[in-house]
Symmetry: C2
Amino acid sequence: MLYSLKIALGQMDVIPGRPDLNAGTMLDMMARARQKKVQMIIFPEMAIPGYLLGDTWEQRAFLRDCQEYGRQIVESSGDLCVLFGNVGLDWNKTGDDGRVRKYNSFFVAQNGRLLGEDNFPYPFRIKTLHPNYREFDDTRHFYSLRKLSMDLGKSVGDLLQPVNLNVDGKALKLGCILCEDGWSDDYNLEPAKIINKNGPVDLFVNISSSPFTLGKNNKRNRVFSRQVRDSGIPLIYVNNVGIQNNGKTIYTFDGYSTVYNGKGEIVHYCEPFQQDLKILYLNQTGGLNNAKPVEVPDDSGIASIYQALIYGISKFVSFADIKRVVVGISGGIDSAVSACLYTRVLGSENVLLVNMPSIYNSRTTKDLAARLAGNLGCLYTVMPIQDSVDHTVDQITNNAVTNLKDGQQLKLTASSFVLENIQARDRSARLLAALAAAFGGGFTCNANKSEMTVGYSTLYGDLAGFLAALADLWKHQVYALAGFLNEQVYGHEVIPRDVINLVPSAELSFEQSVDKGKGDPVIYPYHDYLFRAFMEHWDRATPEEILDWYCRGVLEDKLGCRPGLVKKLFSCPAEFISDLERWWKLYTGMAVAKRIQAPPVLAVSRRAYGFDHREAQNGAYFTARYHLLKRRLLEPGSVG
Amino acid sequence: MLYSLKIALGQMDVIPGRPDLNAGTMLDMMARARQKKVQMIIFPEMAIPGYLLGDTWEQRAFLRDCQEYGRQIVESSGDLCVLFGNVGLDWNKTGDDGRVRKYNSFFVAQNGRLLGEDNFPYPFRIKTLHPNYREFDDTRHFYSLRKLSMDLGKSVGDLLQPVNLNVDGKALKLGCILCEDGWSDDYNLEPAKIINKNGPVDLFVNISSSPFTLGKNNKRNRVFSRQVRDSGIPLIYVNNVGIQNNGKTIYTFDGYSTVYNGKGEIVHYCEPFQQDLKILYLNQTGGLNNAKPVEVPDDSGIASIYQALIYGISKFVSFADIKRVVVGISGGIDSAVSACLYTRVLGSENVLLVNMPSIYNSRTTKDLAARLAGNLGCLYTVMPIQDSVDHTVDQITNNAVTNLKDGQQLKLTASSFVLENIQARDRSARLLAALAAAFGGGFTCNANKSEMTVGYSTLYGDLAGFLAALADLWKHQVYALAGFLNEQVYGHEVIPRDVINLVPSAELSFEQSVDKGKGDPVIYPYHDYLFRAFMEHWDRATPEEILDWYCRGVLEDKLGCRPGLVKKLFSCPAEFISDLERWWKLYTGMAVAKRIQAPPVLAVSRRAYGFDHREAQNGAYFTARYHLLKRRLLEPGSVG
């Protein structure tokens, strides 16, 4: 049939766990749409409850509320056709956990009632494919259409029916897609194709709650455009904005709601990271009146990282009611970038920068910290830690310990390693935490992903803070962000060039003197990429793959780091192996223990620490083939 | 058919993530069984890889190793029939995440080859029901028989076939059950019944990797005995021992492998928490020669908690290579119990107890700490924190902060709340952490579950440590454990009675003076049970249910606390409501933020913090009906 629709994309800021507030946003958008004579309004997946709620899904009282607020939306629909996501409930059935049956559902309401029950067991549509990778936990809470079809003794194909609509007297077959159902490449069935076969469909609508991942929007546009070209049927994608979290990992949602015409061209998209009620006239081929295809910005670069971080930080501090922060600045790159980001979000008058030198901190970095603070115009103070560190060392080494079995006394000693960690904890758990409390705010964790990966940080020390905003960025991305801040955000050198050029160092001993060009044991231009292979590669690389690539001379290519680097860094296979084993042991050993107690991580990459990368504290493992490759390589006479 | 079998139950200590070590244990047990002319040996579910591995399942090199070690077991089987769990791989297919297809599988090997391919697509059996509640994450990694049946266009019933065995010339139909497949009450199909219908089966074998939960063994025996009575077919249950973890939550595995005869009676069980190769003669009805049914100890009492904690702590310190620990002892109950447990595990010479008084600590508690240390005969020292706390307060309040925009100077002030947290952090992050490093060990977190629930603890303070061994015990369970330690473990008063009788207090201000009978704001005899309803009830209680129960006068009954308590504690509904809202806001608010950075929790209850109880940092929510009930209750003239 031929149609022409005035539609509204309800790219709303969904507040997780707040059906009351979300229903309020929806009713408000519906009222505005009605004034503009809109015929159909589309809200995201799980618009009412929010999506990432942990085990709040086990609270029956919460579920009843979601149902009730959903009912209010339906009741208020009038002649506006309202499409929205909510939890669908069947109080008479149970899920596989024995609790009340919950479906991740797509509701279509009009004239005060729900549509779609003419060809489906429920007055709502149900998600078929449940993502259960990365941060997603759909299978834990929701019953899928696949399971329902088995219960009913039907095929999935019998159940995947379009919803029959009538808009201003015109019949319309709607293909209702929930997020993952549009990403079916890895599954054994393609819901959209099946619905269309049971149609054909006039319009596909994909409602999603899809967290931002660097470059994901580019990929979605490729995947969805291709699908639309195949079917020839226009598609509207509506995603929410806001932030949601799984405790340890905090996700931003970019929205980027998009309209694809029947040729698979993008004719409209909503600005990312903004609540937006966009009203459009859609013709029968999915085109907009007089509208040409539009170009969508690339979302895989440093500008997107900056945008996601600023959005994530500002939403998170607003949620947590944190209006002021303390940032410990060392003169190094991570704390400098962190200071800039928080200053952008909260304003310089609400950011207290503090430099906390010990005897190991150089004049160089102390001056750089002061210059950065001056450039930002924040509140600033210098609070040395040496007296306190000396006191702690004195207390633990000069106080006798008594063995109460035999009355013997003993004294403890503090090695240089012990001393390094005392400094780090003194700064964070003693000073920053107290300062933040006195200042009436929180203090930040400035750790980056390279440090997080191998635990090159001190627990209760530099790994402490209310949020680890940079902990999903490799060190080279932190440098890129520093450049972006100076060049694009500020337009002048706010982060002193010398901070960027400085050798990265913790300055916890004279062995780490920046003035002598000494610093971190992590060689970022190589290790960033090695760690990324462990952590972010789809099929996780282990020492076995790394050594195999090394032997075959394809390592730099596989890792994506600079050619020639490996030969320059390691003079022989033994050195290479020793380095590899050192970091693998840390990554799967002590670093896991540290990450368990690390602050929440703001996610930007395709794999962030926390709930996205689930890990057990099991220690390092080297496969049998790794040992074989290693033996061969280290055998006298072998070729390295 | 009639049979008589000499079988071995391989209740092994499975080391998660170590297929090399686990295969070694299995080969050793197989050799011992062969010497004893055993015909069939049974190992647990996931005996080769371990079960709780996080996303290590995404490492192809690790999977290849599991397959190779499994092959070695098969190769070594000889005339011994070897039953074991491992990951089953189909390298030509993918799972729903697009990675290589993995099945949680049951392997039956004999004469160097795998059995069962005559009536199944693979030479191994596949788990049908995938637990995805509590700590379980099966659906994330493994492809279920339900999904496989849909792929093949078959019914689950077609695929659930017995494995046909031949032992010493006698044919035997084996019902192979993987853990959850024996717990099918909440699912829409019963694998064991279906296999039997496709048989009938001569013997059921359930291989499991089932973590200890207080009282779970009792429940399993009820459930399995009933099933066996229904079918009339004997059942052997084999579970592993050891510890495994999901990062934040550490589980002990009690083993408790059990033989049920055809009447559903238990004729044998292995001792819990011990690696054991038990060799038995099983006759055709599942009876043992001359064996009468045995009584299985109740596992829901304080003795089981003690056993699980000692086992868990000793396995965890051994894994982490922690030979010595520092325990901060305050003179209170939690640190006293913690000190006892670690002393039992490590020996008094490896436990350093330290009392760290400020001016707020009473003579009473300082003396109690010293008495406890004396009773235990540990290493002991007293290290006051007042000087350091004073220094910190001086540093943050007397150092000027400069506003670099206008050059103005300001000074911060430290409230009593700020001061309380400074003390807690000074003890843990400054002193205990430094002491532990100098002592060459770790320091313990002594927090209990009541504190964890509402965040009544300081981050980087008393919430720090390498393990929170008591964090799955409500305060009343900590008291019970103290009594058990004195009465059953030591047989005399090691924890001074005055520690048990003391009012619980953090002693962080004069407002919390134990000598004046003042202390914690948590009233454990009531709040323990309120918090348990939020946290452990199957259908989570929220303020709505609590208020409803309060109105209906059934609250104490529903919570399981002492009758009459609520009326005594709250003189009117307004007081009750204010208390309820206070704790709910903390439980779903600040306490979540604290738990994200808390140490790993040793699980004993049916719901532990961490991966078992997944939570988002979303803040408190009160349902519409809660607000309604509250309004009604607070209306003038309403009956409370």
